[in-house]
Symmetry: D2
Subunit: 168 residues, 4 copies
Amino acid sequence: MERTRTVTWDDTSGSLEAAASMTGLEYMRAIAAGDLPAAPIAHLIGMVMEEIEEGVAVFSIEPAEYLYNPIGSVHGGVAATVLDSVMGCAIHTTLSQGAGYSTVELSVNYVRPITAETPRLFGRGLVVHAGRRLATAEARLSDADGRLYAHATTTCLVMKVGSGNPGG
Amino acid sequence: MERTRTVTWDDTSGSLEAAASMTGLEYMRAIAAGDLPAAPIAHLIGMVMEEIEEGVAVFSIEPAEYLYNPIGSVHGGVAATVLDSVMGCAIHTTLSQGAGYSTVELSVNYVRPITAETPRLFGRGLVVHAGRRLATAEARLSDADGRLYAHATTTCLVMKVGSGNPGG
Amino acid sequence: MERTRTVTWDDTSGSLEAAASMTGLEYMRAIAAGDLPAAPIAHLIGMVMEEIEEGVAVFSIEPAEYLYNPIGSVHGGVAATVLDSVMGCAIHTTLSQGAGYSTVELSVNYVRPITAETPRLFGRGLVVHAGRRLATAEARLSDADGRLYAHATTTCLVMKVGSGNPGG
Amino acid sequence: MERTRTVTWDDTSGSLEAAASMTGLEYMRAIAAGDLPAAPIAHLIGMVMEEIEEGVAVFSIEPAEYLYNPIGSVHGGVAATVLDSVMGCAIHTTLSQGAGYSTVELSVNYVRPITAETPRLFGRGLVVHAGRRLATAEARLSDADGRLYAHATTTCLVMKVGSGNPGG
């Protein structure tokens, strides 16, 4: 086994300009359709967008050794990244044109270890509350047989794009 | 700018056997010293072990475009991964020989966006409670000037190595 | 309006002995049926057990001024208490005889303020993962019209009763 | 032992008007000094304000049977309430005149059970990040000997008073 991985990604700096004239759902669908580039980190960790609907986002990932922590399993940050992605994207699909969001809090529960032998995993994010200034979502990470590995919730701040640092 | 990244990592399958004859602190120090291989994911995302003391772990990371989400900043999963790492490793340093741990819960607060222009970030994890079956830790992700970007807490289950799936 | 509240509660010290010969579901149903006393705090804050099924618990509460914080609304701790109750009790219903649990982590998202004008609220807790050592649950706090006020998740440690402090 | 508790509280409806002409620190100090009424829930659960400084709030509580859950210990919602209080009040002390806040997320870690035999507990809340729109805080619940029982973090949304439902 050769332990090397090479990834390439696209310049996404034009995406935000494109986003300014789209609703959140249109933006997410443009990425899903390949009309706008996928997130660089999706290439890095091998995360694939599977489904985008209003209030819903599904991504998948193949557990692999290059995602390992030092104690013999896939790093918990990988599940956190997939769950954060599907919840953020689910919230993004509910935003009107000119609105953006920023994650302010993420909580993850790990219920089963993930190793290179674990089958492909699917993160499914659902919006729970979509308010004018605040949105929350929940997500589960399961295999195709429905075995649950982790679940999560998030809180996002919703704002006009360009209104500055949400933590500021 | 060339948008490609190649990483290599080491076979870590021997590490757990090595770990069985070490305390947690010895194991973490062996990784820090390069006597045992770093975690594959550390190579993938460019995370570097900076400091290991009993109850403390510090890692650093260089924000970069290959870590980006689809909305123009470093993906929140990256901060989650660094914070999870330093908290897990801080807890690991408190474990006696033959003990292991598993993260059961991770909560992250994001207070400032991270972009490719953000300077190198340092995650510092500290053990809060080290019990026989349960350990908790907290961590902050800051730049060298002390500007805070995210903070986190975690809950880990402590167990004898080989006692099976902690979520089971 | 007279601003005074008097509550009485029952001695529950015999309940744990009674619990030792019951499954978790039997224990919860005995409380619901009034064969075992309700929790003292349920009397204190006016929380009522509405429904107990395997993996599910529903409690209700009437928002009122005596539950107020210093900024003109029902204290966030009240929603936390109801949500923690329904999740803990939902998990309790899945336990076999001789097993107990302890909450190690609770995360609450608040999406709408609660005042004395808010109608009666119903907390509904559902088990997400029921493992041998670890259980997780989720809950929502809504009014009868389905308006959501808060939601939550929890992590509980499952253990043999009498095996000591789970945090130890 | 008589199992009854009678509490009285004050009308706090005038407090918010008083608050409008004060900074957050002045408001918290007015409550601490008894110039403005304590929160009704503080009377209900026996919670006492011990210390208010800029960015810091300390409350104490005496563990007692009337705070019990159905499994023989003080309900986890009580620790959540004290921790939420000291974090919210710590954030409140950092607010300028005309600003308010709303808790959007609370995470609590429980590390040791609390019973009626547990000595008086002190919750200490500290601001971690005080931004224009977002603030975070952390807190610990310990006895006078420094034994830790629970710890927590929170995320609050900061806003102009009267700008409406933060979850909206």
